[in-house]
């Protein structure tokens, strides 16, 4: 009976053999596992019970069937000793109870043979099963050993064929085994390696942390680490390796071996270095490039704390006239020149100074820790001196000049980008002051320079886009206060800054040469407007006085241009006056003078502007073909107050007027602002006046309207007389 606890009612059965089988099943139930359902088990025991009863009741009794019953119990897997015990007790008690004491001897004999048969069968079964399980252990071990052998073979193959170097060392640092990849990497044989210790693989570049990690690994504090480390090949060459060192522990967890895996990263490293070099260097000159320079500069600022007293300096250098050389001698020569310049510049610097090529012919020297502007200036001098020796290129000696902008500042008072902007402006200043020199950054000049710099850059496109317009300020006869002429004054309608005064852009326009084109535009505007007035007012129309820059006078085509302009507009030449500054006239050269002669010969009047403010060499007044002198407004300032008049100013003005008249010149006073001033000027003999008292600068349409009214300008003449 396998289902435990299933009770069988042995006494409810009529057949004594069935009843015996049921009682037997109840006794042995649970003593061992028997793979039978309850009915199967009962059938099995019913057969055995039949054998037992037949054997006991036979005449003579056949107790030997007990052995067969014992064997069949074991065969059914009644292997628990309790089965035998309960079976013997059941039979000894139950058989005499049912069939009488007469069967007792037969029962005793039968239970004896049953026990012997059971024991024999169980012994055989035990021996068989023990042998089977031991054979299974042997088979499993054999299988495992084969698998281990195969696995070891795979490990060996892996060790031998691995592309990375593998080495095994003991805890004393002795190298026990290395694989072929390792021997190839180092050029040592495996035997060479066995004579080495881990300590022999030290490299001077090893960070202290490498060996600290190693000590910790040996102590078992860490199980592995990975880092980049350099080694020497047998030949002395360097290996850069990615090293992984691992601790191998024994069965009890104690450190037993160290296992190194080394990947040769030398080539990759070289490639990386090459790429890094390319990213940071100018291929032509091998100097640092703009990226490198910018990074270094920004690093200086990033590194310095807020309380630093660190100073930084740059020399920003630009070759003079490089474009000409490149254009005329070819790029090959230009490149060679740049290389030679780079070599010379590089020879000028020492540690802590970085030379970079930041653009076509732009170089910069960065002084990361500056000790004052004097050192920077010395450096700039050295740089210029280095370039002073002519270069021998393409079979000729070439002199290359350079201009340098020097900036030296405390890190706390600027930023990297501000510093470079200052360097840019300062370089521009140096170029402007004449080439082949350095200029030092002057913060106070910076603002003005910045404005000039920006406007200057915008001028060419402004001229091209016709962003300029002309206003006219009347020149009035002091005798009757009527308009005799107008001065053309140019304004810039700047797209972002609004209307700009000529003070802001004439300087840059002259420096850049764009004044020639601008002047041409102003002349054209003025002549057209004057021609319009002439058409309307005939002989009463005013002349127009136009400023001409020295640079324009040097233009060989000026006279022809003016002639063509007059011709084109139909303006009579006596309605055009050109104003020149005194400074322009002192240039002792032929071309301007010839131009003046030409203009005057045409009938154009010539005026000297700002008379008395230059270094007056009065002799030129006689030599030059002049018609008018315009007294600078500063001379009239002392005459403005109604009550008080500066006697010295009065005498100077009187003298200048007398001088002009002596030379048969018309004298015009600028900056006339008060009636008293106008009256005094007239008393002193001045012919014409110009200024706010009469009219501001006005659009041409307003001038036309004023002329149509025909009234005198300014206060009534009587007021002037009364002064």
């Amino acid at each position: 009976m396998t289902e435990p606890g299933a009770p069988l009612d042995a006494d409810g059965l009529d057949d004594p053999v069935d009843a015996l089988a049921a009682a037997w099943a109840a006794e042995v139930e649970g003593t061992s596992y028997v793979p039978m359902a309850a009915d199967e088990l009962q059938a099995h025991l019913r057969a055995l019970a039949g054998l037992v009863v037949d054997g006991v009741l036979a005449d003579p009794p056949r107790p030997e069937v007990g052995a067969e019953v014992g064997r069949r119990l074991v065969a059914a897997h009644f292997t628990g000793p309790a089965t035998l015990e309960r079976t013997v007790l059941l039979l000894a008690r139950r058989l005499p109870a049912v069939w009488g004491d007469a069967v007792l001897p037969a029962v005793q004999s039968l239970t004896g043979t049953l026990a012997a048969g059971y024991a024999e069968a169980l012994r055989d079964r035990t021996l068989d099963e023990q042998e089977a399980i031991r054979r299974a252990v042997l088979a499993a071990r054999h299988h495992t050993e084969k698998a281990l052998h195969a696995s070891e073979a795979r490990f060996r193959a892996m060790f031998h064929e691995a592309a990375i170097g593998i080495g095994l060392g003991d805890m004393e640092g002795r190298i026990l085994e290395v694989n072929p990849a390792m021997t190839r990497m180092f050029g040592h044989t495996a035997d060479d390696f066995r004579r080495l210790t881990v300590g022999d693989l030290t490299h001077p570049d090893d960070a202290p942390s490498v060996w600290r990690l190693y000590e910790r690994l040996l102590r078992g504090e860490i199980d592995n680490f990975r880092l980049e480390k350099r080694f020497f090949r047998r030949t002395g060459e360097e290996i850069i390796g990615h090293l992984t060192l691992s601790l191998v522990r024994d069965g009890e967890g104690r450190p037993a071996y160290q296992l190194a895996m080394l990947e040769d990263a030398t080539e990759r490293h070289r490639l990386q270095e090459h790429l890094a070099y390319q990213a940071y260097h100018d291929p032509l000159t091998t100097l640092a490039n703009r990226t490198r320079f910018t990074e270094r500069l920004e690093h200086v600022f990033a590194e310095a704390g807020p309380d630093t007293d660190r100073r930084v300096g740059v020399c920003f250098l630009d070759l003079d006239g490089f474009k000409t050389i490149n254009d005329s001698l070819g790029h090959g020569v230009g490149d060679t020149m740049l290389q030679e310049v780079a070599r010379r510049l590089a020879a000028c610097v020492t540690d802590g100074e970085l030379v970079a090529r930041t653009g076509g012919d732009e170089f910069v020297v960065l002084v990361e820790d500056s000790h004052g502007v004097d050192r920077l200036v010395e450096l700039a001098d050295r740089l210029l001196a280095a370039l002073a020796t002519p270069l021998r290129l393409a079979g000729q000696e070439l002199v290359v000049g350079a201009s340098i902008g020097v900036v030296e500042q405390a890190v706390t008072e600027t930023t990297a980008s501000e510093l470079m902007r200052a360097a840019d402006i300062t370089l521009y200043t140096a170029k402007n002051e004449g080439r082949g020199r350095w200029a030092v950054h002057d913060p106070s000049r910076d603002e003005a320079e910045t404005a000039r710099f920006t406007l200057s850059a915008a001028l060419p496109s402004a001229v091209a886009h016709d962003e300029f317009f002309v206003l006219y300020q009347p020149l009035v006869s002091l005798a009757d206060q009527r308009v005799r002429g107008v001065e053309a004054l140019v304004r810039w309608q700047h797209p972002r800054l609004g209307v700009l005064s000529p003070q802001l852009f004439i300087g840059p326009a002259e420096e850049t040469g764009i004044i020639v084109a601008l002047g041409r535009q102003v002349l054209e505007h003025a002549c057209r407007d004057a021609r319009a007035w002439y058409e309307e007012f005939g002989p009463a129309a005013p002349f127009v006085s136009v400023n001409v820059a020295p640079r324009q006078l040097q233009e060989p085509g000026l006279v022809a241009e003016v002639a063509a302009l007059l011709d084109r507009t139909g303006l009579p030449s006596d309605r055009l006056q050109v104003e020149l500054t005194e400074r322009a006239l002192t240039i002792d050269e032929g071309a301007p003078l010839k131009a003046l002669d030409g203009l005057r010969a045409m009938g154009v009047r010539i005026a000297v502007d700002d008379f008395g403010t230059g270094y007056s060499n009065l002799s030129y007044l006689r030599k030059l073909p002049l018609d008018v002198i315009k007294l600078d407004g500063s001379f009239g300032e002392g005459l403005r107050e109604e009550e008080l008049s500066d006697e010295v100013d009065e005498r100077i003005v009187g003298t200048l007027v007398a001088l002009g008249h002596a030379l048969d010149l018309t004298v015009t006073a600028e900056g006339v602002e008060t009636a008293a001033q106008a009256a005094r000027l007239r008393t002193l003999g001045c012919d014409e006046g110009q200024g706010w008292l009469f009219a501001p600068a006005l659009p041409s349409a307003d001038i036309a309207r004023m002329l149509r009214r025909g009234t005198p300008l300014g206060p009534r003449p009587g007021d002037l007389l009364g002064a």
Partner: protein
């Protein structure tokens, strides 16, 4: 370091093996002193244990017969242990001589023994693999040659899942078997539980911690969760002797003392 799967475990008969201890409980003699000593300790604490193991084996027998009656003629017995007595192929082939059976165990000795006794039966085969390594079991050439997984199959995980801790995600693993089983297949599960005898189960669990196969008792709800996705055959999840007994009248008075659950689920 994770041991590579192709690096074999050693055969260590100085440690008790769950397979051999189980054999001893069933009255088998395929075991060693170390196994019997462990069984003796366990029985000292929990005298009913041999009866529980026998009840488990009897459940296996009834379940296989039930499956054969449903037309199942191929079986995958995972965690089969030492095929000592009342094996699946014997039970199945008694009803259907053409039934095919694949035995799976991780214990190398159990596998070697199985191979020895099954060598002459072409309808049976043995695979050494872990229960959680589903593809290793299903894709093994032995499995592929004996079982046709496009047809219904009986998958037996009898007295196995309590040796699979939660960290090895038994529910997920069973899900993967379920995916591989054709509709009409069955899953046979028995599982040790502390529900019937909490104190004894605790001690027993700690005893097994010393073996290569520690034990995880699970509650009825936890066992139900493992069977997710299967439709339970009557009478559902019950104590071992309660599952379709041969003689319903002969059911034990205290089935909860056979503290283990039995269930058969159908893959629809």
């Amino acid at each position: 370091m994770q041991r590579p799967s192709w690096a074999p475990d050693e055969v260590d008969i100085d440690r008790p093996s769950a397979a051999r201890v189980y054999d001893h409980y069933l009255g088998g003699l395929h075991n060693f002193a170390v196994d019997r000593a462990m069984a003796a300790r366990a029985v000292a604490d929990w005298p009913e244990l041999p009866r529980i193991m026998q009840a488990n084996r009897a459940f296996l027998r009834r379940a296989v017969r039930h499956l054969v009656a449903q037309g199942i003629d191929q079986f995958l017995d995972i965690g089969s242990g030492i095929p000592t007595v009342g094996n699946v192929h014997e039970v199945a082939q008694a009803a259907d001589p053409d039934a095919h059976v694949v035995y799976v165990d991780i214990d190398p000795v159990a596998v070697a023994h199985s191979r020895a006794i099954l060598a002459d039966d072409p309808r049976t085969g043995v695979v050494q693999a872990d229960f959680t390594d589903v593809s290793a079991i299903l894709d093994d050439p032995v499995t592929r040659s004996l079982l046709d997984l496009s047809r219904p199959v009986g998958v037996l995980v009898v007295a196995l899942l309590h040796f699979v801790g939660d960290e090895r995600r038994p529910a997920e693993v069973l899900g993967r078997y379920r995916e591989a089983m054709a509709p009409g297949s069955f899953l046979v599960v028995s599982h040790a539980s502390a529900d019937g005898a909490p104190d004894r189960a605790d001690e027993h669990q700690s005893l097994y911690r010393r073996t290569a196969t520690p034990m995880t008792m699970r509650s009825r709800d936890e066992v139900a969760a493992l069977l997710h996705g299967f439709t339970l055959e009557e009478p559902g999840i019950v104590f071992l002797p309660e599952w379709r007994p041969d003689d319903p009248a002969a059911a034990p008075a205290h089935p909860e003392r056979f503290t283990g659950y039995a269930a058969v689920g159908r893959r629809d």
